[in-house]
């Protein structure tokens, strides 16, 4: 019993750690796609940010400067996406794909040129990373049964970016549903003509959405290289951007369901690490690969309308051509 409880505590903690970049990136995608811009480039923005954070932190020794650099890099990439897909009415999927591929190449090239460590950044010391934060009274309540370990090990003891991600969900919800910017954002993704007729600039709104997406992806990338890991390694996002996209679709482009989808996918990841080679009673050994593929399979089922229906913002992916 004691063991099972301990396992739950460790797995819950692991789930939060894996979910953090997914949540941040998925919320970034939420802003972009709610404004009508398809954002396949989450992966590239995160990877670019991860590199910028690690490189800056390695040189300056400051994780916070790294975070700033990550946000800057990711926002610049987001603006390139905007330049192609908003200003020049380019294909948004192609633009996102281009950024993903370009960044996947650019990071190791720059890393090799600057650090000469075969496409990686130097290992970061404790000071140059975001370390765990002990929440108040964590040590004091740790002895209390059930609640104690839950508070001390699951809720307390993460780095600041995990808490930022946690706060980001209600914040994004508030912005999208309770502010006039949010109202316009949702409108421009559904019916840009109406927004334009109301005298609000479609391009401006979409650029603003992409800036927000850039900032969130920047935090996600910084988390990967300066909090969860200690430095940049090539392709360290390993498909997390696409997984976030899947979570966004799974969450029907809404903040809280998207958070739940991220937690589900992250939990699947934690389970998969636990279950490697361990037989499940009554089923036998579940292949790791099946659990790894599960988020993608579920998303396909959802998209197919077999388990509920997920409908994208109506105008997403379509360049807005102002009538002349």
């Amino acid at each position: 019993m004691e063991d099972a409880f301990l396992m739950i505590v460790t797995m819950a903690s692991a789930t939060l750690r894996v979910a953090t970049p997914l949540v941040l990136a998925a919320l970034a995608g939420l802003f972009a796609e709610r404004s009508g811009i398809v954002d396949i480039g989450l992966e590239g923005k995160m990877l670019g940010a991860a590199f910028a954070a690690a490189a800056t932190a390695a040189v300056t020794g400051s994780a916070w400067l790294g975070l700033l650099a990550a946000i800057a890099a990711s926002t610049v990439l987001s603006m390139i996406h905007g330049f192609a897909s908003i200003t020049h009415n380019g294909n948004q999927v192609v633009s996102g794909m281009a950024l993903n591929i370009m960044v996947a190449g650019l990071c190791p090239v720059l890393a090799q040129a600057w650090f000469r460590q075969s496409g990686q950044t130097p290992m970061l010391g404790q000071q140059a990373r975001f370390g765990p934060i002990e929440l108040p009274f964590a040590a004091a309540v740790a002895k209390v049964p059930v609640i104690g370990p839950l508070y001390a090990q699951v809720i307390s003891g993460h780095n600041i970016l995990v808490y930022i991600a946690a706060i980001a969900v209600p914040l994004v919800g508030f912005i999208v549903y309770r502010t006039s910017f949010g109202l316009r954002l949702r409108a421009v993704g559904e019916n840009p003509e109406a927004v334009d007729t109301a005298g609000v600039s479609v391009s401006r709104l979409r650029y603003q959405a992409l800036i927000l997406a850039g900032i969130l992806c920047g935090v996600a990338g910084a988390y990967l290289s300066t909090a969860h890991n200690a430095g940049f390694i090539r392709d360290m996002t390993a498909g997390k951007g696409y997984l976030a996209l899947a979570a966004l679709i799974f969450g029907k482009w809404k903040p809280v369901p998207t958070l739940l989808a991220c937690l589900l996918f992250a939990f699947a990841d934690a389970v998969q690490i636990r279950l490697q080679g361990v037989p499940v009673p009554g089923i036998g050994v579940i292949p790791v690969q099946l659990i790894q593929a599960l988020p993608y399979i579920l998303t396909v089922f959802l998209l197919a309308g077999f388990v509920g229906k997920s409908i994208a913002p109506r105008a997403s992916g379509i360049p807005y051509l102002k009538e002349r």
Partner: protein
Amino acid sequence: MAGAGKAPVWVDLALVPLVNLAAALVVSGLVVAAVGQSPLEALEVLVTGAFGYGEAIGYTLYYTTNFIFTGLAVAVAFHAGLFNIGGEGQAYIGGLGVGLACLAFGGILPFPLMLLVAIAFGAAFGAGWAYVPGWLQAKRGSHVVITTIMFNFIAAALMTYIMVYVLIVPGQQSPESRQFDATTFLPTAKQAFAWIGVDIAASPLNLSFVVALIAAACVWVFVWHTYVGYELRVVGKSEKAAVYSGISPARHIVLAMAISGALAGLVGLNEIMGVQHRLLLNFTGGVGYVGIAVALMGRNHPFGICLAALLFGALYQGGSELAFSMPQLSKEMVVVIQGLVILFCGALEHLFRPQLERLFARPLPART
């Protein structure tokens, strides 16, 4: 616009893509300069590395083979109005088909028949993997871009499972199948030229290059000179128009995806049957994504695709040379160029077009 007529065709077909390509190369050059290397020296190494000697040309054409297949795959889907990002997964599963055919029939079937069976298996497996997203798009409205991305990841997981648990040689550490029977090996260019008494440098270039060229010709005939190909393009241009003229968009969407997947699946012919001679993990190495760049560069036309595939083949071969002789420059520089080509030739294709078209526009003939 007063006084301005249409620009000549060659502006749209040749000049705009070339200017976009040039822009991508200039930005790549800036990246090279930014990391403190000489762009001109890099270009020189790249070109010599790709075409400078026999072996290099062989390697360039070997890479070209893959890119022709995946470029054609993207193009066929594109003509039906679909964006198939799943070339990577389809090539992976197609390779599995080729490998299974070789494992099952190697040494049993005589070579020409073996080749046909392997082509059929590779195409069928690739087509099957693309059929599902195609069907979901046609019947359930699930966006093919997202589903094909998901299918790439599912393919990767599936292949890992199959290699690690099913096809691995018992007692062996790395997840690889046993080697195929020697009768299944595709003849290399060196062997083929030796038959006619010409000696060329050894390289992985093999018979599948010819298959790729035949595939390109077939795609050209299919898309522009058959009735079904015409219907496919109608669906791609306007689904409404298709419905009004009695063409079923659903049927043609599924068909286009299946053909697209079949073409991507043939990458396995080159990699598995031509070079590796066994099944292994990650033999696709991003060829599906290069296919997007190739199709965009080649304006979705088989002839253009062959040229663009050659360009990317040269980039890949020259790029590996680059990493060798300029060690400060990581081999990923090629990936940067690839991304920039997709950006400038795809997403930013309208960047220079209006100016160029205005520049070369013929004045409208005066009314008489």
